[in-house]
Each structure stands twice: as structure tokens, then as C-alpha cells.
């Protein structure tokens, strides 16, 4: 028995009980829309951030750099929850990854 909690930056939250598969799969099965693109871990569209608990990547998260992984960012299309966890989700999260380099 485990719970996956999702939190959007606009304050919305949702919980999925006994999630199956990746965070993206589990959210979709519960009728919750999360952003995604490639579904293979290459594009970063699905980027989320772990707020509590643990998730593990099923394959190499190619779209994230070491520094992003160290900061808790995860690719929800290839990340599976390890027990209870909470993840920040939504299109805004991936905007943290890379800033304007000229600024």
C-alpha cells in the first residue's frame, strides 16, 4: 500500500493510491494529465521534482544533467515510485533546468 502525491505550482494537488508503472503511467491511469513528449527519457518535457520519498529511473535519464539529478529533478516518463512519495509536476518545473545564458 503506497501513495503517490502530485503537486502543481498553481496549488493543485492529487493523490494516486498504489500507483502502477512510472509516475506518468500512474497519473494517466488516474485521469491526471502531465506533460510529456518522447516517453523515452530524452526530451525532458515530463520533468518533475521529488519533494518527499524516492523514485528510481528505469533507464538512463538522458535529458537531465548530473546537476539536475543532484537537485532532485526526475523524468516522470521513466521514473517509478519506491513506496510513498511526493513529486512536483507541471510544465513550469522544467523551466528551472536551464536559464538564459546571456543574462
Amino acid at each position: 500500500m503506497s501513495t503517490l502525491r502530485l503537486a502543481w505550482r498553481d496549488g493543485r494537488t492529487a493523490a494516486v493510491e498504489d500507483p502502477e508503472g512510472t509516475v506518468l503511467d500512474a497519473a494517466e491511469a488516474a485521469g491526471l494529465a502531465l506533460p510529456f513528449g518522447c516517453r523515452t527519457g530524452a526530451c525532458g518535457t515530463c520533468t518533475g521534482r521529488v519533494l518527499a520519498g524516492e523514485v528510481s529511473h528505469d533507464r538512463r535519464p538522458r535529458a537531465l544533467k548530473r546537476r539536475h539529478l543532484d537537485d532532485g529533478y526526475v523524468l516522470l516518463c521513466i521514473a517509478t515510485p519506491d513506496g510513498d512519495c511526493a513529486v512536483e509536476v507541471g510544465a513550469e518545473v522544467k523551466r528551472d533546468l536551464l536559464a538564459n545564458p546571456f543574462r
Binding site: C38, T40, A91, L98
Partner: protein
């Protein structure tokens, strides 16, 4: 779906005025005989803005005599979300103009993020419909992903440049669709190239040129200067034998040629001259063939500009270029600076600046039109076949927009137009023309590449 024309594949002689297929016999015939564009097909994107809205093909009314001028008169919503529509192309272009039974009817509309290919039937030009969808698995099967440029290659088959392998890593390659627009397989023998982006071919010279962006895993999350230092962005051009499907020559453009994007041959099939924009180095290169060898030379160089309070000078980032159908002018847009430019390329080795418009971007003089903020600079371009109207959109790629023009996510992008006087070599911003992709029923969208129903300056090739 496509009509059976397998019995009809023989090409007739070019001197012969047998014109039974799609397109125009010559570029000059396209200039003289093409009707004025009344509709534009435009890629519309919700990726990065709305998680539940699919991307769409917009049908935009560009007929000034119409009541719905500058409006989206129809849209084809895709069956999935998250595709990120980018570039697209026709099943047939002027390279097939000797092939009876073939029509310029199907648009191949790839999702750059998803690797999904949509085939759109435009038999009813105003109300196109999805004819079929090729799912990503069918593309990944050939160890390819991230489709980009779509070209009809003559005779009803289509080739698509693919930027990555099935994992979103290097190498990229080319995918071929058959004349029923099903996946036929890889066009190139695997291992010819690493990076890929745009391509253009010139059959009379047995030539194809392809350019280099980066692996999907590098450019899709956004632009990271560390990737430039790590060599994760391309700086080479590949010159292919079109017949043998092999790279014959690689030219390294070096520091001055970082991220060579759009490649445009002159349209006249006799000419072996073209141009490429090195976006990150803010340069335009001329390439040409002489004595069996390809040569390149930097012919235009845009200076970086200081912006008060910013750490680094801002490069111009010329992301798109196009050559007018009469091969007289080269057009381009400096996306970050906000500049649209035209050069006279009567002598392709010595482009002569003809005119510029300062609009959008960080430095543009015109930042607002009809009370609407423009935000991004000129990005994808399309020119009328007669060379008198130049149109452009302002979005580059969702994740890059978010870094450089974050407001575009809230406001959406716009499609704008300039009137061109090809005799004088001047452009004038048409202040009456504005298509607002920020003001749509299901929220703001980004607009990207544009095509006309009857061929255009960035899709037509002559054999």
C-alpha cells in the same frame, strides 16, 4: 491512399513540355503562374503551455479580400498531446512535376518530441483532415527519432531527416516513406553521419547537403552553453551523393559555423550554390561546387550586441533563411535581436545587404502591433512565390522560447508579414496583418513553420 502511379514513373525529358504532375516545370514558371496564396498551413503548438491540449495544423486565411482575413479558419487537432510540431512537408513537389497521377495533396506532419508522424489529407484545401497516424514505435524500429525536415524526393516517396537514434542520442539518419506514405525504412546506410538537422537536394548535381543541430537529448530540454563547450552541438555540413546515398565530403565550418541549421540551394536546378545559417555563430555561409569539390565561405556576419545589465553580449541567432523563387534574394531573421533582413544574392559569393526590418526580439524598434506585444523576433519565414510578400512567425522551440522569451508561453506567438518590392529591394512591415496565436479558444499557442497549398520557396525542388 495515394493513387496508383507505379506504371507511370518514367521521367520525361526536361526540354519537353510534358507537365502532367504536381508543381511547376521551372522555378520561373512558379513565379509567373502561381496564383496568389490565399491560405497558409501553419504548425501550432501547445507543448510547454497546456498539458491537455494537442498541437494542431492551423488553416490561416491570408486573403485580404476575405471576411476572415488573418484568422484561423480551421484547425486539425492532433489525436495526442506532447508532439511539438516543428517542420512539415508535402508528399509531392515540383520534383515530381513530370509524374502523372500524383498530386500535392498529403502533408507529412511530424512531432519532433514524440516521433509520431501525421499524414494530413488536404484534398479540401480549407478543411484538411488526418488521413493516418504513424506511431513512434514504427519509427523507433529503425533506430531513429525526432523527425525534422520533410522532402518529397520525386516520384511520390518522402524522406525525413531524423535527429536521433531511438533513445534520443546520436547518431541521426533519414527515414523514407513509400508512395502510400507508410514507413519504408532507412533511406541512408546507418553510420554515415552523427548529427543531423535540415537537408536539401539538387538531383542534376547528384547532390544533397545536410546540416547539424544536436542530439534530441541535448536540444530538447533547452539550450545549455556547457553543451557547446562539450562539443554536443554540430558545426559541419555533409555533402552527399544523392544517387548513392553516401556522404562524399564533410566540411567543418569551425568556430564561425556553430549550429548550421537551414540549408537552401538556389532553386534553379543547374546551379550548385546554396546557403546555410550558422545560428549560434550568427553567420551565413555560402557553399558551392567547383571541379567536383564543395567549398564553403562565410559571407555574412552579424555582430553580437550588448544589453544593459546582461552578462554576455547577445548573439543575433539567425535561425531561418530562405531563397526567393527567382534566386535573387536571401532572407533571414535574427531571432534574439529582432531583425528581418534581405540580401541581394545575384552574385552568391558576395551578398549585398538590401534592407532590414527591426521588429520584435530584444532590440526591435517595433515591439507592438495593433496593441499586441510581439515578444520573440522573426523566426520561421515563408515567401510568396512571386516574391512580394514575406511572412514570419516568432516561436523557435518550446523549451528555447521558455529560456529566451518566457512571455511567449503566456501570450502565444504571432504571424506577421512584410510587403516586398523586389525591384527596389525593400521591405515594409504590413501593420494591418497580424495573426494572433495567443488569442485562441483553448489558450495561447506557438506558431512555427508555414506552407502554401501550391508549393513554396522552402519545399520545391526541381529535377
Amino acid at each position: 491512399m495515394a493513387t496508383d502511379h507505379s506504371h507511370d514513373h518514367e521521367r520525361t525529358d526536361h526540354a519537353h513540355h510534358d507537365h502532367s504532375g504536381p508543381g511547376y516545370m521551372t522555378p520561373q514558371a512558379a513565379v509567373e503562374n502561381a496564383p496568389r496564396e490565399r491560405l497558409a498551413y501553419v504548425m501550432g503548438n501547445h507543448v510547454g503551455i497546456d498539458e491537455t491540449a494537442p498541437d494542431f495544423l492551423a488553416v490561416v486565411d491570408v486573403d485580404p479580400d476575405s471576411d476572415s482575413y488573418c484568422q484561423l479558419v480551421d484547425r486539425v487537432d492532433l489525436p495526442n498531446v506532447g508532439d511539438e510540431l516543428h517542420h512539415f512537408g508535402w508528399n509531392a513537389c515540383s520534383s515530381s512535376c513530370h509524374i502523372g497521377g500524383l498530386e500535392r495533396r498529403y502533408l507529412v506532419v511530424p512531432g519532433n518530441r514524440s516521433s509520431r508522424l501525421h499524414i494530413v489529407d488536404t484534398e479540401d484545401r480549407e478543411h484538411p483532415e488526418i488521413a493516418k497516424v504513424i506511431e513512434p514505435e514504427a519509427v523507433h524500429e529503425y533506430d531513429l527519432s525526432a523527425p525534422h525536415t520533410v522532402h518529397c524526393i520525386g516520384g511520390g516517396t518522402v524522406v525525413i531527416s531524423m535527429l536521433g537514434d531511438a533513445d534520443g542520442d546520436l547518431p541521426g539518419g533519414f527515414l523514407e516513406l513509400d508512395d502510400e506514405l507508410n514507413v519504408k525504412g532507412r533511406w541512408d546506410p546507418a553510420g554515415e553521419i552523427d548529427f543531423n538537422y535540415d537537408f536539401w537536394y539538387q538531383p542534376r548535381h547528384d547532390a544533397m547537403v545536410s546540416s547539424e543541430w544536436a542530439a534530441p537529448k541535448t536540444y530538447q530540454p533547452g539550450f545549455d552553453i556547457e553543451d557547446v563547450e562539450a562539443g554536443n552541438y554540430g558545426h559541419e555540413l555533409q555533402f552527399w551523393s544523392w544517387e548513392d546515398r553516401k556522404v562524399e565530403q564533410t566540411v567543418d565550418l569551425g568556430e564561425e559555423g556553430l549550429i548550421p541549421l537551414e540549408v537552401r540551394f538556389l532553386h534553379t536546378p543547374e546551379h550548385a550554390h546554396g546557403f546555410v545559417d550558422a545560428a549560434l555563430s550568427s553567420n551565413i555561409f555560402h557553399f558551392w561546387k567547383r571541379d567536383g569539390e564543395w567549398h564553403t565561405e562565410k559571407v555574412i556576419d552579424f555582430e553580437s550586441r550588448e544589453l544593459e545589465g546582461w552578462d554576455m553580449p547577445v548573439p543575433a541567432l539567425p535561425t531561418d533563411i530562405l531563397v526567393s523563387m527567382d534566386d535573387r534574394y536571401l532572407y533571414g531573421g535574427n531571432w534574439l535581436h529582432g531583425e528581418l533582413w534581405m540580401y541581394d544574392i545575384s552574385d552568391p559569393a558576395n551578398p549585398r545587404h538590401a534592407d532590414s526590418l527591426s521588429v520584435g526580439g530584444y532590440f526591435g524598434d517595433v515591439q507592438e502591433l495593433q496593441g499586441r506585444d510581439i515578444v520573440g523576433g522573426p523566426q520561421m519565414l515563408q515567401l510568396s512565390l512571386d516574391g512580394e510578400r514575406l511572412y514570419w512567425t516568432t516561436s523557435l522551440y518550446s523549451t528555447w522560447d521558455d529560456q529566451f522569451f518566457p512571455e511567449e508561453a503566456e501570450k502565444g506567438s504571432v504571424m506577421l508579414k512584410a510587403d516586398v518590392d523586389p525591384r527596389r529591394g525593400t521591405m515594409t512591415l504590413d501593420e494591418e496583418f497580424l495573426v494572433d496565436f495567443g488569442d485562441l479558444p483553448d489558450g495561447p499557442a506557438r506558431a512555427h513553420e508555414m506552407r502554401w497549398p501550391d508549393g513554396d520557396c522552402t519545399s520545391d525542388v526541381w529535377e
